[in-house]
Symmetry: C2
């Protein structure tokens, strides 16, 4: 652990969130204030920007715009889904990264993302350590999926959960407005972990949530689903609202969207299936089976970029995660990821910032404990509500200009 | 025009909006304060509640909850889509309505809705006039479609437009985040008039809107669409965002969703085709043609119930529309609908409240003038921006409780 002097690079990776730029603001504002950091660079499209030598000079940005990043959704520097091969298999990318780091005397590297991005961060960290190139590497967590191991929760989750819970309340009022029955199926993101779909239970806690919640933690049985929908319809004048995770699978491990007839599923660069269209398929299944009016609804990209509905707690924690990463690196820490610990010792929620080995965060998924899910598998217990509620507190959004959000406008001056 | 003494009934009809309950609050609060109005009733599910003798006693509600109606989306009393036959064809429903009005000595009737609902309002008004039953009938406009004739704009439009414009800005940042090309097609409500889809142009005005906007005012040519998308992709590194109205039709008058292969389209009780699924179909068309990554997005019900993103201007005007209806009726007006006029004489936007014959509003659709649409047909001119921008100003939403909206909770005490 050494106190290094040199430039820093920050990169954003994976699916954007409402607050990933809040972490960027935290890194940038803190890094610009640190004497040992001689220059602050943002990588265009994450690791790709380093490989392509496309770095933005953050020192040239207007401080007021960096402040607005806190309220600006998506990845201001551009994101990427690029999987680094193991250095033992192909060293090409690593050599190039080292070359760029040497070219700009980069001694601090911060990478913001989820599981896959922490895998990238870990590989680079280990390579630099193996080569003896002194550079402090710290991962900054991010994912609306909330599935990163070792942290109480992830920046981005609280805002997406607030979007899901608030919108479910509004939809509940809308979908039940007519005197006739209707079944609405709402599809929510989350590939293998149901944290975001579970946030619909916060609306149920307020009496305005879905009647049934299907998580990817449990196998999905279409026959049982139809019976459960029918039970709700019979008890509620034909009305039923279902929240379903995009990633639910049958007992045999097949994605339900696939099992219901999607010819072939596209895959992204990490080999993950591109999901979606499930809500329409399940709604159609109910409609055909019971001859009732149905509607399939997808929260689509809105749930991850709805910054107008961001959680203040989430924005502040995401900013702080970026700050803490810089402070830790400047204090000589490396090969770590910032993690959140929940401190309830005062009787109320407090977030404490710690560090964990980045290798532990890489590629490990955290799922909802079975004991937080109701026996029947279609609801969440109070343990989940107690867990999630502190994360969605407070409002925090961009100032209005002409009634519309004034998002950050970066100059993005490329370093020559 | 007589000053009548008796009860009033208020009903909500058609698709709900973010502010239809703000108009309810305006009617209720004003009616409860009027001496000539002896009782204030809310019809459960609009005209159906009158036919079924299901009326809620609004006098039994907590005034604080009536106040919260301003910020509560959807129709608190329940809505309905029920078409009254012409009295000359079948008088059954009219006789029943008259019977209920006599039973409760109803001398004021307020009906809140769009074209179809104003048709209902008009028919009832004309029937009561013909029968010599003294009852002042006033329609309160409402529709996110903004297509009512004779009014500058409609309550509900401003909030839905603010949802569309804000969300398009957020989506623009998200959909363009990767270094690879992607075409996103966003489907927006609006059966025959493109006002709401056009609101996407407000995001474009801020530099973060769709590249192409397709309105139902102009025929849609799939071949031309593909060429226009390609042009944008070529100019923008493969990235393109399209906003499309659910109601676009081909030159031969066929709904595009239908033309692209929807086997059979369901129809609602008014014979209108139930639209939706168009975004996925158009995205698929682009994907198959050019082999690029695509995403279809529907704003679905969220655009009409997203009260957390309501326009303060819209909420205030919707409330006032309800108030003005009551004041007009108490002053002896009948057979009218409240309309908004735009007063720009001071140099800035001001809404003025007037009355129009309800027959004029019924079943007439107002569309976007051709001269407000760009020559190429895929954008809006500054005339539209100037028109729409004042309608989305200001924020106004329910107070937070546990980080979630505290919507109105009505007791809904049925009148015996």
């Amino acid at each position: 652990m050494k106190n290094l002097v040199g430039a820093c690079i920050f990169g954003q990776s994976g699916g954007p969130t409402s607050v990933i730029n809040a972490s960027a603001a935290g890194v940038f504002i803190e890094a610009l204030a640190q004497k040992n950091i001689t220059a602050v660079y943002g990588a265009a499209n994450g690791i790709k920007g380093i490989l392509d030598d496309r770095l933005y000079d953050i020192g040239k940005e207007d401080p007021a715009e960096l402040e607005l990043l806190k309220y600006t959704p998506s990845s201001a520097l551009g994101s990427v889904r690029y999987k680094l091969k193991d250095a033992s298999v192909d060293e090409t990318d690593y050599k190039r990264i080292l070359e760029i780091f040497q070219k700009y005397n980069v001694r601090y590297f911060f990478y913001n993302g989820g599981n896959d991005s922490m895998d990238t961060c870990n590989k680079i960290s280990k390579y630099l350590l193996a080569k003896g190139y002194e550079c402090n590497v710290i991962g900054v967590p991010k994912t609306i999926d909330n599935d990163l191991f070792g942290t109480d929760h992830c920046p981005g989750y609280g805002s997406a959960a607030k979007y899901v819970a608030t919108t479910m309340m509004e939809l509940n009022l809308d979908a039940k407005v007519y005197d006739k029955g209707q079944v609405a199926v709402v599809e929510i993101m989350g590939r293998n972990a149901g944290w975001l779909t579970a946030a619909a239970a916060l609306a149920s806690y307020k009496g305005l949530g879905p009647d049934l919640i299907y998580l990817p933690e449990l196998p999905f049985d279409p026959e049982k689903f139809l019976v459960q929908v029918k039970e709700v319809m019979d008890a509620n004048k034909g009305k039923c609202i279902v929240a379903v995770s995009e990633g639910i699978k049958t007992a045999s491990g097949v994605y339900v969207a696939e099992a219901l007839g999607k010819a072939e599923m596209a895959k992204d660069n990490f080999g993950h299936a591109q999901l979606g269209g499930l809500a329409a398929k399940l709604a159609d299944l109910v409609g055909r089976t019971y001859g009732v009016k149905v509607r399939g609804i997808e929260f689509s990209l809105m749930q991850r970029c709805g910054a107008h509905l961001a959680s203040k707690t989430d924005v502040e924690e995401a900013f702080r995660a970026g700050q803490e990463a810089v402070r830790a690196a400047v204090n000589g820490e490396t090969d770590k990821m910032v993690v959140f610990k929940r401190d309830m010792s005062s009787g109320s929620y407090k977030c404490v910032y710690e560090l964990m080995d980045v290798a532990q965060a890489a590629n490990t998924e955290k799922k909802i404990p079975r004991e937080w899910i109701t026996e029947d598998g279609v609801g969440l217990k109070h343990e989940f509500v107690d867990y999630a509620l502190p994360l969605i507190q407070g409002d925090c959004k961009a100032p209005l200009e002409d009634g519309l959000p004034r998002f950050a406008k970066l100059k993005k001056v490329l370093v020559k």
